[in-house]
């Protein structure tokens, strides 16, 4: 899979170093190999021949892959009950198998893949996935877990290859792979039906293929170049299709591409036409291709989910008409609004519902004591209103009158069908939003006063056109006070049956809260048309589902009095997540990073910043250094810089997010941080060894350092492996527990 020669790190500076350092190092290794070969991993072959080195790379890759798969698939079937978020993602996998429509804040690809894996492995979608702890019993869940573990297992080999390419050092690559393989957090996260292994797989795949295509830079437009470039695009689409966190890796690839193009642009030997080719190739592979794939996943998503399900209510009326089983599906109603029509009015803001009224008054002391008007999420007879002319009370359904359509700008009256009261507003403050006016039901049998008159307006329309059912976005403007009918989205107290507040807002800002559409429409005098005519096109569906997802993400706000995970907790491994089990008799799994690995990563970031800036300043001062050191500094600055950028891009944006955050959000950043650790320690040890001692001794110091890091990581994994593979017995607070000595922080709860 990797090109055997490896190539340079995109830049020519590195190649001379390899030319000098490779054989030297090999020679050095050759001299004392007999003494040390037994003590060391087979990192370096006995003779420095290129063929042997290639072979050892492959062997190590195989070893890393094998170890990674072995750890991920070990005891995969335990515990045989739902753990943590499996309850969501497993359920969504079942929805795909059952083809019922649902709503989730993440894009569909990850859940679709889970569903597919379940389908292929013979899961029939009948398990309910109700709450964590429910037993799977006879249901086949191993296919889905196995699929996630399969993708999760590739993280270590991918990281190995990436670091190998960035640093040209087997020991750095091996160290990175060990850190990831032996991290209990990555292991736990890969073993369950979750989106994270899928997401991390695509992120690492994108990173790997980006690095690979960078190293093909000396052979542009060759087959491997095209292959890696388009593979980058595919992985980007995958990452974004699983979670919006994929945007960060897109950003990273974008920045890398810009830097790459800038470098090419400065190369005066390239003609502008060649530049144009380079640009077009990148636009095609990194923008057009991912967008097309991303859109395709949504197309599949909408095609598969064709039945009405729990997600309907989040979407607009027109959207719901697509879903079989929904009452709007295949319905036929009159197209244009006319006087005398019985209608339901739905707010365009997500999760607000229908304009509603009922035979209950506002309580004493809250505005005028008139009938309540609210919004209500469910379908109900009390959602029905009749459109009447403002000045006559004659029944427009009388067959002797001709049909008169309602037009943009008309003054109308809305009469509540069940109670015959008019939609009314006046200068009393609304129950919850004090700056708005109260909206009530007023009048007897449709006779009220001038405060019942509303002007109906279609948003973005100038002329007196008819108003379409479902499609027209309308605003109702109160004639006397000039305010706009809207819903604040706040929940009324007990007296209002916990429905949502309706107000008349004097602020004429156009927000979705004050825009409505007509959903049901009954008028015997008008011909019905099939709603299929009104069905939204695919781009509209795509846009709407993104709006809903963004709204859903913003809606995940932490509550004031709850403990929430903060981004600064994450790198210090402050607190984990309980995957399964609470009490000492339960089978407990606790998502927590291997503290040795994580704290080493943290230390490495600080050390990197320190050494990186020292080297950068020294270079800027023009200090003369031997070629060996210059080469190593280049690896540190360029290779390390690239993964450091990845870490920052996957970590810092979380500080700006207002939504609820969880510990597992840090894991993509942790992958980059582990790669940085690998590169840093290898380079630093080489630098130290070079500075301190003669060649054979230098090799020894370097090897001993790397080996002790590897062994330390492995030993810490041995200590902490019960976190991932499950613990039974007393809690760690209890001195009798096998984990008793390992609760290094009070905030860990295993």
């Amino acid at each position: 899979m990797p090109p055997a020669t490896g190539g340079g790190l995109a830049e020519s500076e590195l190649r001379p170093r390899r030319g000098r350092c490779g054989p030297q190092a090999a020679r050095a290794a050759g001299r004392d190999v007999a003494a040390r070969a037994a003590a060391r991993n087979p990192k370096r072959p006995a003779r420095g021949s290129r063929r042997f080195e290639t072979a050892s790379r492959w062997a190590l890759l195989a070893l890393v892959t094998l170890l990674s798969f072995a750890t991920r698939f070990h005891r995969l079937d335990e515990p045989p009950h739902i753990c943590w978020d499996e309850t969501h993602f497993g359920k969504m996998g079942s929805y795909y198998i059952n083809r019922t429509f649902f709503f989730d804040v993440h894009p569909p690809l990850g859940k679709m893949l889970i569903g597919l894996a379940g389908y292929l492995s013979g899961y029939d979608g009948t398990f309910l996935f109700q709450k964590p702890g429910d037993k799977y019993e006879h249901h086949s869940y191993m296919g889905m877990r196995g699929f996630c573990a399969f993708l999760g297992s590739w993280l270590a080999p991918f990281a190995y290859l990436t670091v190998l390419d960035l640093s040209k050092s087997l020991s750095a690559a091996l160290l990175t792979a060990a850190l990831l393989t032996f991290d209990t957090g990555c292991l736990t996260l890969s073993q369950y039906i979750l989106l994270d292994p899928i997401l991390m797989f695509f992120i690492m795949a994108a990173m790997l293929s980006m690095v690979k295509y960078n190293s093909c830079a000396d052979r542009p437009f060759s087959a491997p170049w095209w292959f890696w470039l388009s593979l980058t695009g595919v992985s980007l689409a995958g990452a974004l299709g699983v979670k919006f966190v994929g945007l960060f890796v897109i950003l990273q690839v974008g920045l890398n591409t810009i830097a790459d193009l800038w470098y090419l642009f400065g190369d005066l030997s390239l003609s502008l036409v060649t530049m144009g080719k380079h640009l077009t190739a990148r636009v095609l592979c990194l923008i057009v291709l991912p967008l097309a794939l991303y859109t395709a996943t949504f197309a599949v998503h909408f095609m598969v989910l064709s039945k009405s399900g729990p997600g309907d209510g989040f979407f607009s009326s027109a959207f719901q008409a697509r879903l079989s089983g929904n009452n709007l599906h295949n319905a036929s109603i009159p197209e244009h609004l006319a006087y005398g029509s019985v209608i339901t009015v739905k707010n365009l803001q997500m999760a607000i519902g229908y304009l509603h009224s009922h035979r209950h008054l506002y309580p004493e002391g809250i505005g005028a004591r008139q009938q309540q008007v609210t919004t209500y999420l469910h379908k109900d007879y009390n959602n029905l209103w009749i459109i009447k002319k403002h000045n006559t009370n004659s029944d427009p359904l009388d067959p002797s009158f001709p049909v008169e359509f309602v037009r943009h700008g008309d003054i109308i009256r809305l009469e509540h069908k069940e109670t015959s009261r008019n939609l009314h507003s006046h200068y009393h403050e609304a129950p919850l939003t004090r700056k708005h006016y109260q909206v009530t039901g007023y009048g007897i049998n449709g006779t009220g006063d001038s405060n019942d008159f509303w002007r109906i307006e279609v948003v973005n329309r100038k002329f007196g056109n008819r108003i379409k059912v479902l499609r027209s976005r309308i605003r109702l403007i109160h004639l006397v006070t000039g305010c706009v009918l809207g819903s604040s989205g706040k929940v009324l107290p007990k007296w209002g049956w916990e429905q949502l507040e309706v107000t008349c807002t004097p602020y004429l800002k156009e927000t979705l809260n004050s825009i409505w559409n007509v959903e049901d429409h009954i008028n015997p005098k008008l011909p019905n048309i099939s709603l299929n005519v009104l069905q939204p096109s695919f781009p509209e569906i795509l846009l709407e589902s993104h709006m809903v997802m963004i709204w859903g993400n913003n809606g995940l706000k932490p509550k004031d009095n709850e403990f929430t995970s903060k981004p600064w907790h994450w790198p210090i491994n402050y607190q984990g997540l309980r995957f399964s089990g609470v009490n000492d008799t339960d089978f407990r799994v606790y998502l927590l990073g291997n503290p040795v690995v994580w704290w080493l990563n943290l230390l490495s970031i600080a050390l990197y910043l320190l050494s990186g800036s020292i080297i950068a300043v020294a270079m800027q001062r023009g200090t003369q250094v031997p070629a060996e050191v210059a080469g190593l500094s280049q690896v540190l600055l360029r290779g390390g810089g690239q993964v450091l950028l990845g870490w920052m891009l996957h970590y810092f944006p979380f500080f700006l997010m207002g939504r609820v955050l969880y510990f597992h959000h840090y894991f993509p950043a942790m992958l980059f941080s582990s790669m940085l650790t690998g590169i840093l320690w290898d380079t630093l040890l080489r630098l130290c060894a070079w500075g301190l001692a003669s060649w054979p001794l230098a090799r020894g110091i370097h090897a001993a350092g790397i080996l002790s890091l590897l062994l330390g990581t492995a030993y810490s994994f041995y200590l902490f492996h019960p976190l991932a593979y499950g613990m039974v017995g007393p809690l760690a607070q209890d001195p009798q527990s096998p984990m008793a000595g390992l609760r290094w922080l009070d905030s860990w709860e295993f």
Binding site: F265, T433, K509
Partner: protein, 725 residues
């Protein structure tokens, strides 16, 4: 030495009359009829109350910005001899005669006036022509929004002043750097940059953006300095050290100084006390200090205490209980223990008193000598007035069914024993045997039987609980959260043996003697933290707007309307300047990218020095616009048009730079240059015309007829007030 005997003493003064004239015009435009209108205009109602607090030395907490801005305004009040007696409650209210309106508005107006000559200087220091510099100043002079904003008791003009001062002094410093590093003027301008930056940050948090920009520019210049191999290592180190001190240390120290002065000035307790911790309140004169002086420090078995929730959200409150019991069956059909309610109550009340009891003994008085309670001790909490002890058990809490109900135990003689043992955990302990201290210790109560933690859930109880806040036992306590932490606020050693006697004792006030001090850093960090996390509920405002509307001036704010006529003050920009500013920015960006790409292909359109000038001007002006504008897209608070003004100032600085560049480098012939100059003159006259047309709305001095007002409503979204007769 005796030179003056042989040579005449000569003083030569260079006076730049342009500068003088610009300053004069600036002063005239900003100070003219400053006391008009003699009524509260828009946000004066907001800042005015803080000025009054300063005058009366009453502590307040305002989350809108650090205290320096408020102090600048208060300085005006101090100079004018304001006594703080004015009720700031309504926009449009007439000022009473004791309010020195002129001096209150003077400082912002001066800041606004001085921004005009500063714009001139900045463009000069960027090495653009004298003509461009005058142009920049003249644009600042006639920009209506800047005039309106600086003639009132508002902070934007002061912020803009310090932003510009920071840029100007950095440029002066940078130009000194080439000729005479480490000279006196070099030090002066470098220090002034740091001072101006911290003043800008001290006025509004927004100032941070300009500060960051200056830091980045300084860092880039320092990086070039490091690369300069003609300098010795020691010299480079000195350069870096000087910059670090001036641009990092001085601002930090000054920022602390603002808070120091703020806390020195405001030593009396006031309306915002309750948000602060007990320890903080105790440091204010007349607040909690009055009550807590002379309290015993160490809580002992038998102590009578009130327990305040440290979290204090949604409102600060004290652990409370009363005779009423939980309803047998809740509205949703769930059952309760029907025991006595325990709540959190936001007011001082005799029912907030609890007695710390040793579970092994019976008496409720402090023995002599007192036996202190320490971290890890087992305690019972006995409610003072009802003598029932705090209890929790495996019954779902009324509003948060996942947590346990907390009650005061009533023995109904059913098989539900009391579970009233709590283990005390001092959260901020230094050692594991630390003694529980009044006010200072933050403690958690962990239930011994169920290991639930006493927690304020934040939910309001329904009517049966008198809308007080719910207190629960949190079983799965996920780490440290302030809602599970309590502290002792009022405290005394109980002496009464009998219940009747004790009730009388609880009702009597606490005795008085010494005071307790909190260090400045502790007070500073608490105040700063509260200011940052305090969320004022998102108030929808009639004139709020979104950042996108600012660039095109699609929004306006009505500041004030004359009570009888239709004279009004309206925050409206000079649309010609706004539009051309945005155009200039776009042209700059495109030209910059074009030059950059061509330079990369080794085609140098501009000579090196012109290119460097062009880049520096862009970094400061276009960069200044970007950092002062773009972050608003990420903010969730209510935004107004005036938030855009700092960004606008930078755009105005960029305008003449771009114009001169076009004339110098893009106009090929003399003819083109003349035509271009004529166009610029025509454009400027139109800007003057617009400014003059909008003048009645800027100064509010002239009442216009409804027709004239309608004619001024150039955009539908401008909300100019028109009286209906």
């Amino acid at each position: 030495m005796w030179g003056f005997l042989t040579h005449p003493v000569v003083v030569t003064a260079d006076i730049n009359l342009h500068l003088v004239a610009l300053t004069g015009m600036g002063l005239l435009s900003r100070l003219w009829q400053l006391t008009y209108p003699r009524a509260v205009v828009f946000d004066e109602v907001y800042y005015g109350q803080y000025i009054s607090f300063y005058m009366k030395r009453i502590f307040f907490l305002d989350d809108s910005g650090p205290p320096f801005g408020h102090m600048v305004l208060a300085l005006g009040g101090y100079l004018g001899g304001f006594d703080g007696n004015f009720l700031w409650n309504r926009i449009g209210a007439e000022y009473s005669s004791n309010v020195p309106v002129w001096s209150l508005r003077l400082l912002p107006a001066l800041a606004g006036a001085l921004s005009v000559p500063m714009a001139y200087q900045i463009v000069l220091e960027l090495h653009f022509s004298h003509c461009a510099a005058v142009g920049a100043a003249l644009l600042m002079l006639i920009e209506n929004a800047l005039i309106t904003q600086s003639r009132l008791m508002l902070l934007e003009s002061v912020l803009i002043f310090f932003n510009l001062l920071a840029v100007l002094s950095y440029l002066k410093f940078f130009n000194c750097q080439k000729q005479s590093p480490f000279s006196l003027s070099w030090w002066f301008w470098l220090t002034l940059t740091g001072v101006a930056c911290s003043c800008a940050v001290g006025i509004k948090y927004m100032g941070v953006f300009t500060y960051m920009l200056m830091l980045v520019v300084a860092a880039v210049h320092a990086w070039h300095l490091i690369g300069d191999q003609t300098l010795s290592n020691v010299r480079v180190f000195c350069h870096l050290l000087a910059r670090a001190v001036a641009l990092l240390v001085i601002p930090a120290v000054l920022y602390l100084l603002f808070f120091y002065v703020h806390l020195i000035l405001l030593f009396r307790s006031g309306p915002h006390d309750q948000i602060m911790s007990s320890a903080f309140q105790a440091s204010l004169e007349g607040g909690l200090a009055r009550i807590t002086q002379g309290q015993p420090l160490e809580v002992a078995f038998g102590s009578q205490v009130t327990l305040r929730s440290v979290f204090g959200k949604p409102v600060p409150c004290w652990l409370h209980s009363h005779q009423n019991t939980y309803p047998m069956i809740y509205e949703n059909g769930r059952g309760s223990s029907h025991q006595q309610q325990v709540t959190c109550y936001p007011f001082k009340d005799v029912n907030n008193w609890w007695i710390v009891k040793d579970p092994r003994r019976h008496q409720l008085v402090v023995s002599s000598p007192p036996r202190s309670v320490r971290h890890g001790d087992m305690v019972q909490l006995v409610h003072g007035m009802t003598a029932r002890s705090l209890n929790t058990h495996d019954v779902a809490a009324p509003m948060s069914p996942h947590s346990q109900e907390v009650s005061c135990y009533i023995d109904y003689n059913i098989s539900m024993p009391s579970q009233n043992l709590w283990r005390l955990e001092i959260v901020n302990r230094r050692s594991d045997t630390e003694v529980w201290k009044t006010i200072l210790s933050e403690v958690r109560f962990v239930h011994v039987n169920t290991s639930a933690v006493l927690k304020l859930s934040g939910a309001h109880l329904p009517d049966w609980g008198f809308r007080q806040l719910e207190v629960v036992g949190e079983k799965l306590s996920r780490g440290y959260h302030e809602s599970t932490v309590w502290n002792v606020e009022e405290h005394r050693y109980g002496t009464s043996q009998e219940q009747r006697e004790r009730e009388w004792e609880l009702n009597s006030p606490v005795q008085v003697d010494a005071s307790r001090n909190l260090s400045f850093m502790a007070r500073f960090s608490e105040l700063q933290w509260r200011m940052l996390v305090l969320r004022s509920d998102d108030s929808e405002h009639k004139y709020s707007s979104s950042p996108l509307e600012w660039v095109t001036l699609d929004t306006s704010i009505a500041y004030w309307l004359h009570p009888r006529t239709s004279a009004q003050i309206h925050l409206l920009g000079n649309i010609v300047i706004w539009v051309s500013g945005s155009l200039a920015l776009a042209i700059y960006t495109l030209l910059f990218l074009w030059y950059l790409l061509r330079r990369r292909r080794n085609i140098h359109d501009l000579p090196q020095d012109a290119w460097l000038r062009w880049v520096l001007a862009g970094a400061l002006c276009a960069g200044g616009w970007a950092v002062n504008y773009l972050p608003f897209f990420l903010m969730e608070k209510t935004l107004f048009l005036y938030h855009y003004l700092p960004a606008l100032t930078f755009q105005i600085l960029l305008l003449p730079v771009v114009l001169q560049h076009i004339s110098d480098h893009l106009c090929r012939s003399q003819l083109q240059r003349s035509v271009f100059s004529a166009l610029v003159v025509a454009w400027y006259s139109s800007a003057c015309h617009v400014s003059n047309t909008l003048r009645p709305l800027t100064y509010g001095d002239k009442s216009l007829s409804p027709e004239e007002l309608k004619a001024l409503r150039w955009k539908d979204s401008w909300d100019i007030l028109i009286r209906k007769h």
